[in-house]
Amino acid sequence: MFYHFVRFIGRIYFRMRLNIQIEGEHFIPPKGPFILILNHVSDIDPFLAHTFCPRLLSTMTKSSAFRFKFVRILGPLVGAFPALRFRVDPQVVRVALRLLREGKAVGIFPEGERSWDGKLRDIKMGTVKFLLKANVPVIPCGIVGSYNIAPRWGKMDLLNLTGKRETVILRYGEPIFFGSHNSRSARANAFLATRSKVEHSLLDLTT
């Protein structure tokens, strides 16, 4: 309920502040589990993804964000769950797999952090292994334009009294099926091809 309310407020705000364009929304399945992978170029990317994805998303979020009490309380209510970035975190994999088993949508920023220059960073190895283990459709989503509004080294003009609404495009791509890779050796064999596929799909959607 709270999540729906936040999305409602977020939609009003972002629609007033930005010219939001959504492409390929039909690729999002109306039900059943899937993983949404997104490029990360700006502070506002997670908010855009959670607000405009047709399904409610649960997204891996850096654990340090949960140091703040309001994030600890409100974060899980809007689908954020913590991922430790400085060591292998088996708990985040367990939680993500559990959410997928429950038929939910899981969001991942596979670069692990925001890009400094708007270009796609290297895809994290752990994310690729997780995609192979999960055995659910993977939907790439390119966020275009948010870097121009709030790059990592700048900040967003929240009100923007000039009246100019910058365009941000959320572009969903065709679902990718990586198949079942239950063993470590199967995942190791498929690793390079999968990483390349993920990189190319995000590059295609962001350029």
Partner: protein, 206 residues
């Protein structure tokens, strides 16, 4: 983050830059001014040449080249390459996060901190204001990342150390440490494949 966090040194002459404004920084050497412009471009205003617009990517590439040159020019291995006032905190506890009574994960708890200086030379050192010295070899650093205005390092058998930088950019430390660590492994004929969540190396193929 202010633009200084990206342009912690001048991409044109490698001098230090100022931190006073969030949307502008200027070089203390050649006096060039760098400021945020429309559509995430950066306006470069050299003192004696016409101003021009460029991208963060171009300036970042130039800075990385200059950083490599600076590392190559160090003749004395004990010479300090970087020194920043910072506050060190060691993470010893993790707090569980729940949603509808289900465990969702953990967050690190950072309490207190010790003021001092973080120093990069042929190893990494932290000298407390009281004079206590902490020392780590580069191969003891198992993970490296930026967290807001701090750099977080996971030290072998000693856990997560966070260094909150008082004035300097965390990217300055990330770029310098990445280069220092990669050169440490290079001596062992190893190259770094990834820095997160743990530093992974592979043998260099000839």
């Amino acid at each position: 983050m202010p633009i200084y966090d990206l342009l912690y040194r001048c991409p044109l002459c490698d001098s230090e830059t100022t931190t006073s404004l969030s949307n502008q920084t200027s070089c203390l050497g050649c006096k060039t001014i760098f400021s945020n412009s429309v559509d995430s471009q950066i306006l470069v205003q050299p003192q004696r040449e016409p101003a021009y617009l460029t991208s963060a990517r171009m300036l970042n590439l130039s800075m990385k080249q200059l950083l490599k040159v600076r590392f190559d020019c160090v003749s004395n291995p004990d010479q300090s390459l970087l020194r920043s006032e910072s506050i060190m905190a060691i993470v010893s506890e993790y707090q569980p996060i729940y949603s509808k009574k289900k465990l969702m994960g953990y967050t690190e708890i950072i309490r207190g901190g010790t003021a001092g200086h973080l120093i990069l030379s042929n190893s990494l050192e932290f000298v407390e204001t009281k004079g206590v010295l902490h020392h780590w070899n580069f191969d003891q650093i198992k993970s490296l990342q930026i967290s807001s205005d701090a750099i977080q390092l996971y030290m072998q058998e000693k856990g997560l150390h966070q260094f909150k930088l008082i004035e300097n950019s965390p990217k300055l430390w990330e770029d310098n440490l990445k280069l220092a660590i990669s050169r440490c492994y290079l001596k062992q004929n190893l190259e770094i494949i990834s820095y997160q969540p743990v530093i992974k190396t592979g043998r260099i193929k000839i």
